[in-house]
Amino acid sequence: MVRIAIVDYGVGNLHSIRRGLEIAGAQTKITHEPAEIAAADAIVLPGVGAFKSAMQELGANLDIIRQVVSAGRPLLGICLGMQLLLTWSEEGGHAEGLGLIPGKVVKLPRIQKVPHMGWNSLKIEREHPFLAGIQSGTHVYFVHSYFVRPEDEVAVLATTTYGIEFPSVVVRGPVIGTQFHPEKSSGAGLQMLRNFVGIAGSKKVVR
């Protein structure tokens, strides 16, 4: 059974993520212990709140996460968790991120109401196992004020339009990020969590 560590760094509630992954067949552990995170087959980095404080809260786990990723183990960053994957964010002026996906995080322009909150649709740009069974036009649940700008266009798996077109799913090697909350996106979200468990399972076999 795939063991997934859900990093608990005091942000948001993790019940739905945990349950979604469990329904998909994974064994989950909500933890902030570096040893437990390092031992997992895959990591989920959830996130709600402010960039800087989240990075601070992660503390020692920053290096663990980088280690796990360089070992080729899958990492799923959700919402703020996805933003933390980038090099830096302009939130609060300037904040350093994990740097796992080169690029930056910028504020959504006020063309439409900010934060972007509600159900919006995905436009699939590239195929990837994470999006298996998901079509363009599928609605997912967003709540955010910043968006990511990866340096490499190839990193963008899906986009969403809200005043501007922004990346809603990004990927780089074993690292996947979703701007929306799959655990709050009903059936479509559960499908993606299932796909992530599948990816984690196949990587585990390879190891």
Binding site: N13, H15, S16, R18, R19, G20, V48, G49, P109, R110, I111, Q112, K113, P115, H116, M117, G118, W119, N120, S121, K123, H139, Y141, V143, T160, T161, Y162, G163, E183, K184, S185, S186, G187, G189, L190
Partner: protein
């Protein structure tokens, strides 16, 4: 009418009034404020999304469950009660039915009931994969924190906000505006004015609803859940005038509540007003219409909904 925004000159904006689509004359449209148009009010942009090929937020359909001592009941005009099941099961069923969010309203007043609610929310969060908002008797920052920690995505605050507006500010700062919904119960007093009521619609406050909505926005509320006391339970339609008055006064999302009796009513409130979501209880609970019925009806008439 075409214009360009000062800060985003690359975007061409076509303005059209949703209510009077053939009108070319903005100043004559009663509820369209020119100042807001300049700063990009959602109304103006949404009506022309087809020209931009723009995707956008769907209108949300939100079933509401009244919960008393961990059981679902349904109040009519805030009075009579009818039992209808287990909150967690019912919420999960609504998720399967296509609801965009679910609201739990704790209508009990006892400390035991309040305590039981945390357990209900925890159980629900483990089987629900759409956003959950919980309200009813939430009075303090600690209570909000505990509710969010138990699994609620948002907390709805009503009486406590009116009696202590600083709570709104503190909660928005601590937990983020997106978690803070201010529930406003309003009753018509005449002359186009509505009064805010607290304590489950029992206590008049003398506060003007529109003014109050503006204030809560300034304090950091993420959303407003607006219930018309006059329409609530009547199944005769939402209070469109009240809803539009509040929706046009603020920039945060408005969830309209009170009066839904048919899919047509929901269509009306989502098209004749700037409401972002429609909340309903009775029409869903008694199986008269399903969430799917409502969404298909709306979709068939061009309202953007998640199917």
């Amino acid at each position: 009418m075409e214009m360009r925004l000062r800060n985003y000159p690359q975007f061409k904006i076509h303005l059209k009034c949703k209510r009077f689509p053939s009108s070319k004359f903005f100043p004559k449209v009663p509820f369209l404020n020119r100042k807001k148009v300049t700063y990009c009010r959602e109304l103006s942009i949404r009506s022309e999304f087809a020209n931009w090929g723009m995707q956008m937020l769907t209108k949300r359909i939100i079933p509401c469950l009244d919960v008393l001592n961990a059981r679902v009941v349904k109040g009519i005009r805030f009075k009579q009660l009818r039992d209808a099941g287990d909150p967690a099961e019912l919420a999960r069923w609504y998720d399967e039915q296509g609801a965009d969010e679910v609201v739990f309203l704790d209508i009990g007043a006892s400390p035991e009931g309040r305590e039981a609610m945390f357990g209900v929310v925890e159980r629900t969060a483990r089987q629900l994969f759409i956003p959950l908002t919980v309200g009813g008797g939430i009075r303090s920052l600690e209570h909000i924190g505990r509710m969010l920690h138990s699994g609620a995505d948002k907390t709805a605050i009503n009486t406590a906000a009116v009696e202590n507006p600083e709570l709104v500010r503190a909660a928005a700062k601590r937990y983020g505006s997106q978690c803070i919904v201010i529930a406003i119960d309003a009753k018509l007093v005449g002359g186009g004015k509505w009064e805010v009521y607290t304590y489950g619609g029992r206590k008049p406050t003398g506060v003007d609803a529109v003014e109050w909505a503006r204030r809560v926005e300034s304090f950091g509320a993420g959303e407003i859940l607006l219930t018309s006391m006059d329409a609530d339970g009547t199944r005769a339609g939402y209070d469109l005038e009240l809803t539009q008055k509040i929706a046009s006064a603020v920039s945060i999302p408005i969830i309209a509540s009170g009066g839904a009796g048919s899919p047509q009513h929901i269509y009306d409130v989502l098209t004749a007003t700037e409401a972002d979501a429609a909340l309903a209880a009775g029409i869903f609970h008694f199986g008269v219409y399903s969430v799917g019925d409502v969404k298909r009806y709306l979709h068939g008439r061009g309202v953007p909904v998640r199917l």
